[in-house]
Amino acid sequence: MPMSRPVVRLLPFFALWMLVTLLLSLSLDARSAEQDPTLAHVSTLLVKKFDDKAKAVALLVETNHPRTEEILRLIQDGELYYRKNDNRLFNIPVAETGAQAVDLLDASAITIEKTREFKKVTLNNLMRGQIGLALAEIGLKSEDPAQREAAVRKLLGELSDESVAVLRKRIGAEPVSAVRDLIQVALAVNDLRNGDEVARLQAIERVEGSLESPVRTALTQVAESDVSPVVKQKAQLALNGIDEQIRLYGMVETLYFGISLGSVLVLAGIGLAITFGVMGVINMAHGELIMLGAYTTYVVQQLMPNHLGASILVAIPAAFMVSALVGVAIERGVIRFLYGRPLETLLATFGISLILQQAVRSVFSPLNRSVSTPEWMSGMVEINPVLSLTLSRLYIILFCLLVFVALVMVLKRTPLGLQVRAVSQNRAMARAMGVRSKWVDAMTFGLGSGVAGVAGVALSQLTNVGPNLGQAYIIDSFMVVVFGGVGNLWGTLVAGLSLGIANKVLEPWAGAVLAKILVLVFIILFIQKRPRGLFPQRGRAAEG
């Protein structure tokens, strides 16, 4: 009791002290906002409609506020939120319960209790453009040459007078030659628009051979409507040179597209080249084995959500195993009773394909599943402004070649491969030599199915992972195998790639629908002339 007395007596003082600190902190808050009226104003605008937000961004840029870059980046990355009840702005890198939210104005941190209390400061396209340009202007002064280059490229066609002045000053001091060249081009484009005749002529010389699209736009304008005929003529000449180059790179691009489409066709068809080509089984469920591979990728990604990059690599053997096991089961359960009866095999495997589709619908729902592309596979390699190769396609081309080489190796260099070839060439003789032909059948079918599963991993990066995935590729697969010559892996490779390229060459002038039809018609005619495909298997045994 005696102890509590002084405590009780102290209570009012304690309360007073609390009040004072509270007031102090409030006034501090108020002062920090007062100190920075711009920021306070901006923060009231940012929680309103798009027009107001755009004004806020403009205000930041105009007043050259020291935190402009930081705030704009936050908005661009979607990390700026506001609290619904008091409209205060917070920086929230991860929006989930228990994560940190940092107050934008006074940098105090709080913990998020309910994510619903916060709402993102959203953007529309106009604002995205506005922020992009504003950040590019800031980026001109960046320390990082790559950032400077990106900034100049972004501003190439739309330099403001201020940025022109900045660039003119910059150009002498610029240490990196690539950036210097780009700044030259940017200033030249500006001259093309605004300079006098001499400046325009010089500018045309300077931009000659540049493939940046604003250069082409500016040159086209000059070539069409310049007051001086000399400038006009020169611009036209420069333009012709650029167009010539663009055409050339366009051809390279078409070739790349063709090879990449071809490699998808090869991947889809190569498993069939083994089951249909080597074993002679018309497997209508081949597409569904591809689908199973794609779904395996999805499941693997669900199992390791924090290692998206590695999940694809894990998915490859997993998909191989899943599809191979299903394949062996199909062979043991159905197909082995139907050898030598192609029509019944066709019907039975078609039935299996329907069963597999419906099974996937029941297990995973009829909706498509989303398989995300890992970081290292997205984006593109920019070779020059008119030619860039998408990375995911590049990896798939490489992957296709890898699978092809591996398969050829398996068939040529392993005991299994030897036995497979022996059985496919002459079953009776092979059995007489002690080959367990039934076991070989199952393994071969498993191998072909497994490869189909691996193709599914690749396709999951390009297209829908849904119950209908397989149907979309079954016709293409048969087309490639038949065209290439049944029973020949090299034939499949050449057929797939050449069909891909033919399709892509036809597409620009015939349209996607007609191109596909033309390719099909061509194959039908070709098969009439050479029923055994591009590379027919020779020898007596092949007839059987």
Binding site: L126, S213, T254, G466, E507, V513
Partner: protein
């Protein structure tokens, strides 16, 4: 002893249950109003249509909780036309003749609607069609609660032209009737607005097209010629996913070349990683993200009904919501479910839509709706960036096509015609 007692108890309950069930059936057979649901539950369209079947079941359940209609309970009759167009007609006949339904809610693709059309006209029944479509149709027996082109495509193009300053246009679509007709209307509209022919690129691709490399690259080149370019996409269904993936991997950002889609909604986006698509657009009459009380309670009801609080809602669901409520109101007004009476009483009926306003059934069997443009966000939702100030009435016959601009539709007496030519003052009498 004990087991015997429990056994008899079980038998007792079972028989009581059986009795009550059979009584229920008896009551159901006599005293319910039947509503037919004609959506594919298997095959390729199941992906979209299953959701609509669930929506209808939910709406009917809610109406029954409110006491049903005309003092009777509603009973849903669900059939599965299995994405098979001729089967739609057969199933519709079965619903009307065998099951005696008073109204059908159903169909998704235009071809399935065209397949049902002669059946509902012959049997003089009623169908509500909930999906945006190409127009050029107005049947006495069909009520179109989805958007006509002037409620989706044309306003979207206006937005791109006026607010984003777009001057070059890529019209990309899947090769079938809806994109072809819509693009014909849009092309005529753009030309009327003074867009030159070389500034319009039209491209068609087959169903389920998956290799978009060359087309996206062409679009990129088309857009790199100095003028602001946009893509108007009528690409259907599955093909959108690889299309958007290719846009992402070729670095076509929404800021440079925005894509506005008419067939991509919340449901379609739930199967894609939307991060590379942020900023691309869609035009609809409803978005799940719309802030309104009716919408909030609709979504809560939907989550409770499906027992899944991740399920999204979308535009055709709202169309069924509106259509169903209009039918309920019209039946109340007419005092009967008789198709002829309801066809008359439903014109002019106004019910709340989910975006905070009212939708009215017009004499041409289309409804009034607000038009909204939304930008894709990284959580798979849309943020509304523009919307019409009021509602827009659906126009069955486009004002921009030769041969259809003189035609109007008015199902009220004395005109009672779905395709009346104002120039020749004749009702062509065709059945659609």
């Amino acid at each position: 002893m004990k087991t015997k007692a429990s056994k008899s108890a079980v038998i007792g309950t079972l028989s009581a249950l059986a009795l009550s069930v059979s009584m229920n059936v008896a009551v159901a057979a006599e005293d319910t109003i039947k509503v037919g649901i004609l959506h594919s539950l298997s095959g390729t369209m199941a992906i979209s249509e299953t959701t609509l079947k669930d929506t209808m079941l939910m709406l009917i359940e809610e109406q029954n909780k409110k006491g049903g209609l005309l003092g009777k309970q509603l009973e849903a009759v669900v059939v599965d036309p299995a994405s098979n167009w001729p089967l739609f007609a057969e199933k519709a006949r079965e619903l009307i003749e065998k099951n005696g339904v008073d109204a059908i809610f159903g169909a998704w693709t235009s071809v399935s609607r065209k397949s049902v059309l002669p059946v509902v006209e012959e049997l003089d029944s009623i169908m509500f069609y909930p999906v945006q479509y190409e127009g050029e149709e107005s049947s006495k027996n069909v009520f179109y609660t989805g958007a006509a082109p002037n409620q989706q495509a044309v306003p979207a193009v206006d937005y791109l032209m006026n607010d984003l300053g777009v001057e070059r246009w890529v019209l990309a679509g899947t090769d079938y009737v809806y994109p072809r007709t819509t693009n014909k209307i849009l092309e005529a509209y753009l030309k009327a607005k003074g867009v030159a022919a070389e500034d319009i690129m039209i491209n068609y691709t087959p169903f389920g097209h998956s290799d978009w490399q060359s087309i996206v690259s062409d679009i990129k080149k088309f857009g790199a010629e100095g003028k602001k370019t946009a893509v108007v996409s009528t690409i259907n269904g599955d093909a959108n996913v690889p299309f958007y993936k290719e846009l992402g991997s070729q670095g076509v950002a929404a800021g440079d070349i925005p894509v506005v889609a008419f067939s991509v909604g919340e449901e379609e986006l739930s199967g894609i990683d939307t991060a590379p698509l942020v900023g691309h657009l869609a035009a609809w009459n409803y978005f799940m993200s719309v802030d309104s009380e009716t919408n909030d309670s609709f979504i809560d009801g939907w989550h409770a009904y499906t027992k899944d609080d991740k399920r999204v809602s979308n535009d055709p669901m709202e169309a069924h919501y509106i259509g169903f409520n209009m039918w309920v109101e019209a039946v109340k007004k007419a005092g009967t479910t008789d198709a002829k009476a309801v066809q008359e009483s439903i014109i002019g009926v106004a019910v709340p839509n989910l975006t905070g306003g009212y939708s009215t059934m017009m004499p041409n069997h289309h409804i009034t709706k607000p038009v909204m443009i939304g930008e894709i966000q990284d959580d798979g939702q849309f943020e509304v960036v523009w919307q019409t100030s009021g509602t827009v009435a659906g126009d069955a016959w486009s004002d921009y096509l030769e041969g259809s601009k003189d035609i109007i539709s008015d199902w009220r007496a004395p005109l009672s015609c779905g395709n009346y030519n104002v120039k020749t003052a004749k009702c062509s009498g065709q059945n659609f």
